[in-house]
């Protein structure tokens, strides 16, 4: 396959960036999107140019490091992570636009790499349990209803990649925060901090400069792990409940 890539190039956070056009040849349909970028970078290095910086780690779709907006879609045209997207999703001769996550809370570090530590600080605000943990506990010690366990697992799937923020026209982090809140709030292990968790995480989310939610649903459409849109409503319910309890 022969492709034309239009890639966002930016030296660092302080200098303005722009889209640069590159031609790549010899791309196999079985390559992953990141392998295609590796091919481009090998080319650039041979030519003595600066390779394109992009985040990646496990390349198995489970770590949440990769983060590219491909033709306007976070993680590209398929509902998966960029590393699990294969070149067979494109056709020979295609022009592909590659941009970084765009959000005030995710400043560009270099090229396609953005700083997502805002998410870490949201987690630090309450995305944990204070109970001492050790070896796996005896399964019957703390019974969890099946529906709650399913819900917790569904939300625990969030890998914190930030596609929700990138896809949201408002740069809102509601889906991410709701996944983390709901994951722990439905479980008995998470109930001691049930109220402070949702209040503190939402406050931190707001402080980080993420936008407000207008329920466009773009986040849930982009999420590679399928965190559903009603999770946001569930977090709003938790938040309203916590406000009543803490105030009352």
């Amino acid at each position: 396959m022969r492709l034309t890539l239009r890639v966002w190039r930016q030296r660092n956070a302080g200098t303005p960036g722009a889209m640069s056009t590159y031609d790549v040849d010899g791309i196999s349909a079985d390559m992953s999107f990141l392998e295609m970028l590796d091919t481009l970078n090998e080319d650039l290095i041979l030519r003595g140019e600066d390779p394109v910086a992009f985040d990646h780690d496990c390349r198995e779709g489970i770590c949440g490091a990769c983060s590219l907006v491909i033709n306007g879609d976070a993680h590209g045209p398929e509902r998966t992570t960029t590393c699990q997207l294969h070149m067979r999703a494109f056709r020979d001769g295609d022009t592909i636009d590659i941009e970084p996550w765009r959000a005030a809370a995710f400043p560009v570090v270099k090229d396609l790499v953005v700083d997502r530590s805002a998410f870490d600080r949201v987690i630090q605000a309450g995305g944990y349990i204070t109970a001492p943990t050790g070896a796996a506990p005896e399964a019957h010690a703390t019974p969890v209803p099946k529906a709650d366990a399913d819900s917790a697992f569904e939300h625990a799937e969030c890998i914190g990649c930030g596609a929700c923020v990138a896809a949201c026209p408002n740069g809102s982090a509601m889906l991410f925060t709701s996944a983390k809140v709901n994951h722990l709030n439905v479980l008995p292990q998470g109930s001691p901090e049930r109220e402070t968790r949702v209040l503190d995480m939402v406050a931190q989310m707001d402080a980080e400069g993420f936008g407000g939610c207008t329920l466009t649903g773009e986040c849930a459409t982009a999420c590679p792990k399928g965190i559903p849109l009603p999770s946001i409503s569930a977090m709003n319910k938790e938040w309203l409940r916590a406000r009543r309890k803490v105030k009352g």
């Binding site: 239009r6 966002w8 889209m19 907006v69 033709n71 306007g72 879609d73 636009d97 941009e99 765009r102 959000a103 005030a104 809370a105 896809a167 026209p169 408002n170 740069g171 809102s172 400069g209 993420f210 936008g211 407000g212 207008t214 329920l215 466009t216 649903g217 773009e218 459409t221 559903p228 849109l229 009603p230 946001i232 409503s233 569930a234 709003n236 319910k237 938790e238 938040w239 309203l240 409940r241």
Partner: protein, 208 residues
């Protein structure tokens, strides 16, 4: 946004029901208009109930506009650099909430000046004869255009707004998703169809 929006939506439902009385002829419609002024009598003085409704509505409109402004400012600030490759996302109703809201605000101003105060009313505005006033307004081409466009905007606004309000208030869930979407679409359709039926009736001579 959710609470003020639902307040106004409740009013719209009552408003459209009242409007449909126009199909029962001038006596009944004018009598209904009169009743609105003596609502709550004899406990309440003349027009007290009406003014109470107006005050609550005004507060809701102001609260809705102020929160929309704050939310929009925050949202625009959170995405300082736009994507080069833009794609159309979300539904038409979702994408037009801001402009739709502005259109509706302008419409409300015209609507009050036209049929409540009579300031910009075409023909002789007569208080206490709403039936004739309605016919006069919808006998002009621009009255019909402004009104019908605004009512389509109401439908779109309610379609996204009602469902969103439910999510904001924490009522949404995977199980209730179909119910809430259905209710939002049903409400939007009923309101738009109900409101638009009046100018259409005047145009076709059913109401004259």
């Amino acid at each position: 946004m959710a609470v003020s929006g639902l307040l106004m939506l409740g009013y719209l439902v009552a408003h459209v029901a009242g409007n449909l009385k126009v199909f029962f002829g001038p006596e009944e419609f004018n009598a209904y208009g009169h009743w609105l002024r003596v609502m709550g009598a004899p406990v309440l003085h003349h027009e007290w109930a009406l003014w109470l409704v107006r005050i609550v509505l005004l507060a809701a409109v102001v609260a809705h506009a102020v929160s929309a402004y704050q939310l929009s400012r925050r949202d625009l600030k959170a995405r300082p650099t736009a994507y080069v490759h833009r794609r159309k996302g979300a539904s038409y109703a979702t994408r037009t909430m801001r402009w739709g809201g502005i259109i509706l605000a302008l419409f409300i101003v015209w609507h009050v000046l036209d049929l409540t105060t009579g300031t910009v009313h075409p023909g002789g505005f007569e208080e206490g004869r709403p039936y004739q006033n309605v016919v006069d307004t919808f006998s002009t081409w621009y009255g019909n255009v402004i009104y019908i466009v605004a009512m389509l905007a109401v439908g779109l606004h309610v379609r996204h707004g009602f469902w969103s309000a439910a999510q904001t208030l924490g009522i949404g869930s995977a199980r209730r998703e179909r119910l809430l979407r259905g209710a939002a679409n049903g409400l939007a359709l009923a309101l738009t169809a109900g409101f638009v039926s009046v100018p259409v009736a005047v145009m076709t001579g059913v109401v004259s």
